[in-house]
Amino acid sequence: MHVLAEKAVRLRIDAVDVYYGAVQALFGVSISVHGGEVVAVLGGNASGKSTTLKSVLGLVHPTRGEIHLDGQRIDRLSTPDIIDRGVGSVPEGRRVFPRMSVRENLLLGAYPRRHDPKHVADDLEQVFKVFPRLKERSQQAAGTLSGGEQQMLVLGRAWLRRPSLLCIDEPSMGLSPRFVDQVYEVLAGWKAAGLTILIVEQNARLALELADRAYVLQHGHVIREGTAAELAADESIQRAYLGESEVA
């Protein structure tokens, strides 16, 4: 937990192959995340970003390679078992529980901590402080929230897990720039508080601003890795993912 441990590798994805039926989605992907670090996984559509996250979360199981969390192998575990080891998830496409109320959705984030109701209640108040909009709508069915509100909801839900590793899949998807900025502000705050984050993004500019290090995926292969600053400065990355050359 302390200075020494923070530098240690928390998550190690090691030469992982993932198949969907006959289709191979990941080819020998290796990624590591150190304590307190924010790591971004970038890439175009269908490059395998979400699949990488899913393999960490146990939603798909690699046919080759290994995944270790805090030194223990997790690539054969079920999703709830992995969540129980302190992982939080913000799934792709948000996935709120549409007919349940906003409050209930948030509480579900704290499901693994259900035996500690006092702290859960305190944390819920915290979330409502960060996202006052959610407080106003706390009894409303989550399916009726706007896309941006839903994104806040799932961020709050994941935070209530009080994870030691947070996996986020494209939090900017389908949001207006104003909302995206808000989301990233929240994430920056969590980073400052020391949370370890593995984030998948298409919006490379924003992700590289937040991240310490990043990996670039293409057709299921890691084609680049480096510190966020290195990658942000790389011209080929800029051309391919930052979209600046097209605009210019």
Binding site: P80, P91, R95, P98, L108, R157
Partner: protein
């Protein structure tokens, strides 16, 4: 006035029983998205286990009931684990069918263990009663009422206030997302089955107390009412299930009291259809979310109206084996010499039935597969065809050509009419809607004395006379066989042509995504009605042939059991696959004949074969298309 009061009181009591059964469905449907047809069997087992506790082991009622509830809950959990969980990746229809197979096995096993006969189940509370004028309430009624309300309230508290309840609901709304919250979704499904089993057992015991008897066939009729109540209430709403049960109970009691007991079920199921027409989401269902494209759309998955789609959203596909349309004509020609190869009539009779059911199964597969509206009501259409021919041929001496065409036209028309209330429904709701249609059909056959002769049926249907062929009378079995063979081949040929045509493609597009088809400018309603018209025509032809072959037409041939069997055929063949439907229809009609050697075990073996096939080929023997 006094009578009205008594009747409403009567309705409230039986309605509470329905509500308890409906709660079991709602729970399983809500969490596991499975319509659990085995709920009726669990209900029956609950009653019988309590009976055995009392009669065999001399236990008092309450401990016997408790033991029974626990045992049935455990059985529910075991069934989920052993039979349903392995199918969790398959399309929604596969587990539904498995629950049917389970209920077949359990019902038959109960007949073997406890004999098929009703047995006495005395209620210690029956003696105590209170009179309010002419109306009365017995102690049993009060117990049913009290426990029913307590259970409903308890469930509501459980689901809305506890971690378990929230986890159950989250699992029902989005399994993958729930797993990412750390919820063990498999256990949640298992809990829901166990809870539903417990509720089933409890309601079974109450029904036994109410009627002071238990009987192995008690499952299905009450299960049907439970479905109807759950659907009335909104299928996933706990208070909805209670309200649905009570509304159903009161409505049918009033029908029974003021129209006659034979109108009870007609009114119950007609009420259901009517409600579905105007309020497809049920009495207490949530309309707002439907507007968003249903729960799954709100969750980000593609809105699918199809039961063929797998739980994960993407349909698992198998290789499809299918004959071209002309293949049915060739096959028909190949089967023509059969009468020369066999001496006795047994084979010909059995094969003729097999052919008729091949056609009926294709008819079911056409709506259930191509257009994605699972039909559990085709017995009604089959029956209309049969009655049309029986009446026209016997009382009006029509020739076969005319009476069969009339059967086809009438059935086709009725099928279109019947589809009207279904147009706004999709998924499981529409399946239960067709169930109501099938029940209404049966009840009309049974009650429309002046037309159908009611329970007496129409015997002595004359042999078919073909005016176009020199007035030849097809008296002998081989001749009837040839008639059946020729028309079934032709019917299958036409069915395959439809399915393979542009119309068939549009049907499948509607099945995959009704909303998208609609926005793409497809006149969805017209296509659905066309599908019902074609399917009705095929079912009408099959029914007409049945009337000629069997020479007796009576209501018991057109019960919900028949509808269930034909759905099994259609699914087992591969939905939407006419070849598969025909093969499965034929094979499953012959199979019980082949299994006669198993005597009492026959239906159990049949159910086990079904389970195994569903496990090995979840998309049907020849693949769904």
């Amino acid at each position: 006035m006094e009578l009205l009061f008594s009747q409403i009181l009567n309705g409230l009591v039986i309605g509470q029983v329905y509500a308890l059964i409906a709660l079991g469905f709602t729970l399983v449907f809500g969490v596991a998205n499975i319509i659990n047809f085995a709920q009726g069997a669990l209900f029956m087992l609950g009653a019988f286990l309590a009976f055995s506790g009392i009669a065999w082991f001399g236990l008092p009622l309450v401990p016997a009931a408790l033991i029974s509830v626990v045992l049935v809950a455990a059985l529910g959990a075991v069934l989920e684990r052993v039979v349903l969980r392995p199918l969790s990746g398959a399309s929604a229809i596969t587990p539904l069918l498995s629950t049917l197979a389970i209920s077949m096995i359990l019902d038959q096993a109960a007949e073997m263990i406890w004999t098929p006969e009703p047995q006495s189940f005395p209620s210690p509370l029956a003696e105590s009663r209170i009179f309010i004028g002419d109306a009365f309430v017995t102690g049993t009624d009060a117990a049913i009422f009290g426990f029913g309300l307590l259970t409903a309230i308890g469930l509501m508290i459980l689901l809305s206030r506890t971690w378990l309840g929230r986890a159950l609901r989250a699992t029902s709304e989005d399994r993958d997302a729930a797993a990412q919250m750390g919820i063990r979704t498999d256990s949640m499904r298992q809990y829901s089955f166990a809870l539903a089993g417990a509720l089933g057992a409890l309601s079974g015991i109450f029904v036994a107390l109410y009627f002071q008897s238990v009987f192995p066939q008690m499952g299905l009729p009450f299960a049907l009412k439970g479905f109807a109540a759950a659907l009335l209430g909104g299928l996933t709403s706990i208070p909805g299930a209670v309200v649905g049960g009570v509304v159903l109970g009161v409505a049918e009691t009033l029908a029974s009291g003021y129209l006659g007991d034979n109108y009870r079920d007609v009114v119950a199921f007609a009420l259901l259809l009517l409600l579905l027409m105007f309020r497809p989401q049920g009495l207490l269902g949530d309309h707002r979310l439907e507007a968003l494209g249903g729960a799954s759309a709100a969750a980000g998955a593609a809105p699918s109206t199809s039961l063929l789609a797998s739980a994960g959203g993407a349909a698992v596909r198998q290789r499809v084996i299918a004959l071209p349309a002309w293949g049915f004509i060739v096959l028909g020609a190949a089967l023509a010499p059969l009468p020369f190869l066999s001496s006795g009539g047994y084979l010909l009779q059995a094969v003729s039935y097999g052919l008729i059911f091949a056609l009926l199964s294709a008819s079911v597969s056409l709506v259930s597969g191509s257009i994605g509206i699972l039909s559990i009501g085709h017995s009604a259409f089959f029956g209309i065809g049969a009655y049309a021919v029986a009446i026209l041929a016997r009382f009006y001496a029509w020739p076969a050509e005319a009476s069969l065409i009339a059967a086809i036209v009438i059935t086709s028309f009725v099928a279109m009419l019947a589809a009207l209330p279904l147009l706004r429904l999709s998924g499981h709701t529409v399946a239960l809607g067709t169930l109501a249609i099938g029940q209404i059909g049966y009840l009309v056959f049974l009650n429309w004395d002046t037309m159908t002769r009611g329970p007496l049926g129409i015997p002595n249907v004359p042999a078919p006379v073909l005016v176009l062929f020199d007035n030849i009378r097809l008296v002998r079995l081989p001749q009837k066989y040839w008639l059946v063979l020729a028309l079934v081949s032709l019917g299958l040929f036409l069915a395959e042509r439809f399915v393979g045509s542009e119309i068939g493609r549009v049907w499948r597009a509607i099945r995959e995504d009704r909303l998208a088809a609609h926005t793409a400018g497809v006149p969805v309603r017209r296509y659905i009605l066309t599908a019902f018209a074609v399917s009705g025509a095929l079912a009408g032809l099959a029914g007409g042939l049945l009337a000629y072959l069997q020479t007796v037409v009576s209501p018991e041939s057109f019960t919900v059991e028949l509808s269930i069997v034909t759905v099994i055929m259609a699914v087992l063949g591969g939905l939407g696959n006419m070849t598969g439907a025909a093969v499965a229809g034929f094979a499953l009609t012959i199979l019980p004949e082949l299994l006669r050697g198993f005597s009492d075990w026959r239906l159990i073996v049949y159910g086990l074969i079904l389970l195994v096939v569903l496990r090995l080929r979840p998309q049907g023997l020849l693949g769904a298309r």
